[in-house]
């Protein structure tokens, strides 16, 4: 009884629909001449996000400047029964803002003001189009930072982070987006503006803020958010531990955490990635290393060296050939540059690459890495691994050449096999990239039909007509994209 298949019927208008006639002019009235893009050439830029398999440009792009404009736009769309897709910077990695069944794209990039910072209460109120790094830049001088730090943080927006419940290397210690968002201003699909949550840590009634965070834009358009600010730690110690193989490196990760140490971050790179990164950045990774760990701890300056030494001893006991401490801020920055730009470096090794995002319980890391090695041989494709080891969040990078259709087919297939293995080991389909359109077909691996029905119902609480980002997250007959090619660029 697969009832859920019939519960989501995208309410999008088909192209050249009469409902779109005169819409551009009507929306221009609301957002001004510079706020509507209707020319196909300009719209092509918006045909995909970081997941480039399926492409579909919107019929219209709207760029509102204020919450009231968003409300006006959505009300106009409601009157015509037209669906929409919200978009931030388009750095998502699962096709979350692909306008599949929605002719209109509502982009928040012009809503990029930091509205207020309240350092005494450690809160910032920002518009949803603010770029992630700009929040930290605005509060740094007062000794604070905004903790979730996706690798795309120089481009991605807070609104996009909220949609995807994004995270980054330092979320091991500090938590993901949902742990840092206390209040939201949300425009529902009909144009109604609602305030959810606020500045306090306590929820009043149902946790609607926590429900909207990670809903992948299906609850409406988030226009403002109240964020928690975190105090900068006094000091950091960043270490590089070199291992002969990934087994020893993962053993070191488990042993560190078992010793009661929660580092700020523990990131792993395997041999393939090490060679690519070394060629690009000359970090000083030994060419024959099988795996490296970047371990960062932070906190009080007092006692930090003791903790670093303890981690070094644990890593050495687990088989590390070498443990180096970054001597200064420049060395620390170089290590993080190597990590955050590893994906770009891989671009040198093959014409194309596809990044997967899966999760396993931390202790199953050696098992999943063994499976990936076996699958790599079986499908005859090189796979590199660079990932958030502390969270068990893997990012296998499959190298291929899109000019060879058989390689493309194998790259897609191997990605699915890896995800299946993650779920079989008690893990998840996605740790931080979201389901979007990419992984809808795999949702039944993780959830029973009843669970998916409940999720559909939850979505309709916010959007009864199904006009906000239709055809995402929950599998639908019309909503799934027939995946023809794997994803390419994927800055993490």
């Amino acid at each position: 009884m697969l009832q859920w298949q019939t519960m989501e019927s995208p309410a999008g208008a088909s192209r050249s629909d009469a409902r779109l006639s005169g819409l551009a002019a009507e929306l221009t009235e609301i957002v001004g001449a510079g706020g509507v893009v209707a020319r196909p050439g300009e719209l092509a830029v918006y045909e995909c996000d970081g997941w480039t398999i399926a492409k579909s440009a919107p019929d219209l792009l709207v760029l509102p400047r204020t919450t009231l404009e968003v409300s006006g736009v959505l009300a106009a769309l409601e009157r015509r029964g037209v669906a929409f897709v919200p978009r931030g910077a388009g750095t998502g990695l699962s096709g979350g803002c692909l306008p599949l069944h929605a002719p209109v794209m509502v982009c928040t990039s012009r809503m990029n003001h930091i509205v207020a910072c309240d350092f005494a209460s450690r809160r910032a109120v920002v518009e949803s189009g603010v770029v992630n790094i700009n929040v930290t830049n605005a509060v740094k001088s007062a000794g604070f930072f905004y903790a979730p730090d996706p690798s795309s943080q120089a481009a991605c927006t807070i609104g996009g982070n909220i949609a995807e419940n994004s995270s980054g290397p330092h979320t091991l210690k500090y938590g993901v987006t949902t742990n840092h968002v206390l209040g939201l201003e949300l425009v529902l699909a009909g144009g109604e503006i609602v305030e959810l949550g606020g500045v306090t840590e306590e929820r009043l009634g149902y946790d609607l803020v926590g429900t909207v965070v990670g809903a992948e834009g299906t609850a409406g358009v988030v226009t403002r958010a109240t964020l928690r600010l975190v105090r900068e730690p006094q000091a950091y110690r960043t270490m590089l531990a070199v291992f002969a193989d990934v087994e020893r490196a993962t053993a070191a990760v488990s042993a560190t955490i078992a010793a009661g140490i929660i580092p700020g971050a523990i990131e792993m790179m395997d041999a393939l990635i090490i060679r690519a990164v070394e060629a690009a950045f000359h970090v000083g990774f030994p060419a024959d290393a099988g795996a490296v760990l970047i371990v960062e701890i932070d906190g009080l300056a007092a006692g930090l060296d003791e903790r670093a030494e303890r981690i070094a001893r644990i890593a050495t006991a687990a088989g590390a050939a070498e443990v180096k401490l970054a001597r200064d801020e420049a060395e620390r920055a170089l290590l993080w540059k190597a990590r955050k730009r590893a994906f770009g470096a891989v671009g040198r090794l093959a014409p194309n690459y596809a990044t997967q995002d899966g999760v396993v319980p931390r202790t199953r890391l050696p098992d999943i890495l063994r499976v990936i090695t076996i699958l790599s041989r079986k499908f005859q494709l090189a796979i590199g691994n660079v990932f958030h080891a502390g969270d068990g969040n893997i990012h296998p990078i499959v190298l291929y050449d899109e000019r060879d259709p058989d390689q493309v087919r194998r790259a897609i297939e191997v990605g699915r096999e890896i995800l299946k293995a993650c779920v079989e080991m008690g893990g998840s389909l996605t740790g931080e990239h979201g389901i979007g359109v990419e992984k809808q077909a795999e949702m039944p691996l993780l959830f029973a039909p009843e669970d998916l029905i409940v999720m559909s119902e939850l979505r309709r609480v916010f959007d009864p007509a199904g006009r906000a980002n239709p055809g995402k997250v929950i599998p639908t007959p019309g909503g799934c994209v027939e995946v023809a090619a794997p994803r390419r660029q994927a800055p993490l």
Partner: protein, 423 residues
């Protein structure tokens, strides 16, 4: 429900469960339910739910019956006790995750985890009487929320029985997971109004190597809160409380407002923080430190403080920097988590219904002025019918909440009438 109806429900339930697992309520339970059933698993709960929907019988989940016992105005027909669902389903120390049935108490769970120097760092009062279902359902927290967060930050997976006896699950057993809608958030703080939680998965944290408490007396609340903010900016404290004089006296420190700051770490970290706190707190006051078992003893007394004689008790949430001023203006007794902007306040005055209503209004205005809200935790029986336990969310928010409730509980049987907006 009259006796004849009770007998009918009792007989029907005896057909669903063994006779010895359907009983009349004991002690606190009487305020929450007229009959108590003790299912052994989620399938039995599903059968109970289907029966209750068909017969329009209201039901509420039961642990120690303390949370709902303090806020329900009248008992529901049926209490679903989770006492027989109290097992650890799986514990993976190296993954630092645990899955446990919702009837297990937080105290029992933490005793089990302590052997691995791990804990679920959620610390409402009386953990040995707080079941995990209540911990999530009421989003209980305590001093450790300052550094470790609240239930919504640590819950990674959930199972519950919803309408039509549907067995629903969300999340999983991994610490990072964005697959599907966040049903954990929907259930956290939902007070049993959507379904009955049967299983919970949590991420765990290490028990720190060393732990010390600093205590300092203050003649004025404003000074205590001001100093609390300074030390909070300077140090990664594990908890930070300001106690009003009556609360301070009841935990063994009479005579003044009391700042209580817990800090943790290795020997060097403890030494440094002790030195810093000594400097920052001692200028005006006699700062005192408690280490080791003595620190734990003080912590537990603060954590377990209960307003036994209170006629009204409430939890105020505010913008953190504005909490102290609000409390001072109200002149109430309080236990404040100063860094979080959350305080429990209470009065022991005998209140008639008019005075109770006025008191709650005054407290609520103060909370709103500090950009927050106020929820009553307990009210004496004599005034319970005359006060609103939950503050009012914004109109738009309440509309969504009503829609959520009617979607997930169309028959209106899950703990009706004691949540936000009368839901």
């Amino acid at each position: 429900m009259n006796d004849a109806q009770s007998d009918k429900v009792e007989n029907a339930l005896r057909r669903l469960l063994d006779a010895n697992r359907v009983r009349r309520p004991q002690d606190h339970e009487a305020g929450v339910a007229a009959i108590v059933a003790e299912p052994r698993d989620a399938d039995e709960i599903a059968e109970i739910v289907r029966y209750c929907e068909a017969e329009k019988i209201a039901l509420a989940p039961l642990g120690a019956a303390r949370t709902l016992g303090q806020i329900r105005r009248a008992p529901t027909s049926l209490g679903v006790s989770l006492a027989r669902m109290a097992r650890v389903v799986s514990y993976e120390p190296e993954d630092m995750t645990v899955i446990a049935e919702a009837g297990m108490t937080l105290g029992a769970l933490n005793s089990r985890l302590a052997g691995q120097a791990q804990r679920l760092p959620l610390d409402p009062r009386a953990p040995e009487a707080t079941i995990l279902g209540a911990l999530i359902g009421a989003a209980h927290s305590g001093p450790l929320r300052h550094s470790e967060g609240t239930p919504r930050d640590l819950l990674i997976g959930i199972r519950f029985v919803g309408r039509a006896g549907r067995l629903v699950h969300g999340g999983g057993r991994v610490v990072k997971n964005v697959a599907g809608y966040d049903l954990m958030k929907v259930m956290t703080g939902s007070f049993g109004t959507i379904g009955i939680i049967t299983e919970t998965a949590f991420k765990l944290r290490p028990i720190p190597e060393g732990y010390t408490i600093a205590l300092a007396p203050f003649a004025r609340a404003a000074d205590a809160f001001g100093r609390a903010r300074e030390i909070n900016d300077a140090l990664p404290l594990v908890h930070l409380e300001v106690l009003s004089p009556a609360v301070a006296a009841s935990v063994g420190y009479p005579g003044a407002f009391r700042l209580v700051a817990g800090f943790a770490g290795n020997a060097r970290e403890l030494e440094y923080q002790r030195e810093q706190l000594g400097e920052k707190l001692a200028a005006l006051n006699a700062v005192e430190f408690a280490d080791g078992p003595r620190a734990l003893e003080v912590y537990e007394r603060v954590r377990d403080f209960e307003f036994a004689s209170a006629s009204l008790a409430a939890r105020m949430a505010a913008a953190p920097a504005e909490l102290g001023g609000s409390l001072e203006a109200l002149g109430v007794e309080f236990l404040a988590h100063a860094g979080c902007g959350v305080a429990e306040i209470f009065t022991s005055n005998e209140l008639d219904s008019t005075r109770a209503h006025e008191t709650v209004s005054r407290w609520r205005s103060a909370a709103r002025a500090a950009r927050g809200h106020l929820r009553l935790l307990a009210a004496a029986w004599t005034i319970r019918a005359h006060v609103e336990f939950f503050d009012q969310p914004s109109a738009g928010e309440l509309k969504l909440m009503r829609r959520l409730k009617s979607t997930f509980d169309p028959a209106g049987i899950f703990n009706p009438g004691c949540f936000v907006g009368g839901l």
